[in-house]
Amino acid sequence: MSFGTAFRKEWLEQLRSYRLLVTAVVLTLFGLLSPLIARYTPDIIRMALPQGEEILKLIPPPSAADSVAQYLKNITQFGVLLALLMAMGLVAQEKDKGTAALMLSKPIGRPVFLLAKFASLALTFTLSIALAGAAGYYYTLVLFGAMDLGAWLGLNVMVLVFLLVYVSLTLLCSTLTKSQVLAGGLATGVWMALSLMGALPGLGDYSPRQVIGWATALGTGMAQTYWPALGVSLALIVGGLAGACAIFNRQEL
């Protein structure tokens, strides 16, 4: 069977199981809200707190950089959560229910079966981030003025790479077990381990988290790059998929 056939089925599942809709709505919502939160947080503080005016004297006025920071914080936090939720059952559930056994008794290569799942979820996140990015850019433009479009595109590519690390690693976890809850638990453990790695001196520059550091630099006009982090992230995506394929090839269904 061709990759196209497997991908077509997976993409249809993304649509029918509302994975695309939920991911797109949640991320687009944060794309819209982030510039608004950045812009109106001072007003909220002024109205909500008795010493609001005093506090605001200590905080610089909101700028496009705040909008970018807010966008990146929200998109990555909820994006990782969505990556875990959407990918944890991709293989585990099919093994548990028996659909994997039914389909893999036919001439379908197991790597094709897995890679089509990754590709469809990667497309879901690509489209969702594109929508969120467009929404975030438009509101930032309206509320704070124009940003460098190239930098904004680069920033969103970094966000996508960062989220695909978790899609790939969660797919690996989902391949390891028949229980999607256990797969989710394992993936959460991986998420925590990578987050801790980012806080360790010396290792931080290699953490996928630093890809978001690069995204922040792009969004705020700084010339900082984090090539090791990008390299490690790409290696984790490829390694996660290769590991999942190798393990799945040896599994009995």
């Binding site: 056939t5 036919k106 001439p107 009995e252």
Partner: protein
Amino acid sequence: MIAVRIEGLRKSFGRVKALDGLSLAVEAGSVFGFLGPNGAGKTTAIRILTGLARAHGGQAWLDGIDVTARGGRRAAALTGYLPQDPAFYPWMTAAEMLDYVGRVFGLTAGERRSRTAELLKLAGLEEAARRRIGGFSGGMKQRLGIAQALVNRPAILMLDEPVSSLDPFGRKELLELIDGLRGRCTVFMSTHILADVERVCDTVGIIDRGRLVVQSPKKELLEKYAAPVFEAAADRGQEAALGAWAEGLKKKPPSWLDAVALTDELTVRVLVRDLEAAKRELPELLVRSSLIFTRYEMVRPSLEDVFLKLVKPGGH
């Protein structure tokens, strides 16, 4: 020509030997009944043949392709498989599922359209073609399972307990369908429902504790192994007493007795190894039982009698 060949197949789950040197050969175009008690190793053998599990020893070929080596995908292209509990994507419709399976086998758009329509009709699912499978009953899923197994016009059709969740009508239709495939495709059907095997299979293999006990054309098997059988039916209200009598006979078997089994609460079948001795002594035993019998006769042996004779109770 041999369609399915298994030689010395071994598979263990921890200490349990699911397959312990299973060997058999199935002629192309035949309907092969793969019989055995629960846990005998039938499903494990089928999972190895379909490439879903790996053997720990031995070899197996489908149409000459070694499925225990690297030929799994080539063999899968000419095989149809219905698992014991077929599972589908609940968000797909029946027509979409068959179309998807057609795509997997590389059928053209036109072939897929006509094959889908043909198989939906065959499975009696025409009206449910556009309904999502998530809302299907167990029997409908089983019928869809048969349909998806036939999409590629398989040379070998592997059916694992195919009638397990069908009602009597569905069961009759499926057995007729299998019967109609004779000569066109090799059917390898695992089951423990002996009546179904007796009805459609022309060759039978009996497996117990991972080993082949016997394999033979059904007719020869019945002639060779089925010992004479006596059947006695007790009058109503004597269910418990008849059961107790049969148990007593099992505990203290006369020298001519081979096996004794209740076919229903009021009917007992007695398999014998010495016909003349049984003819003399069995009526006396029945009379001494103080039970009231409404019928006593010597009957044609069935596959069930052969099974009871060859397979010892208490599998894995």
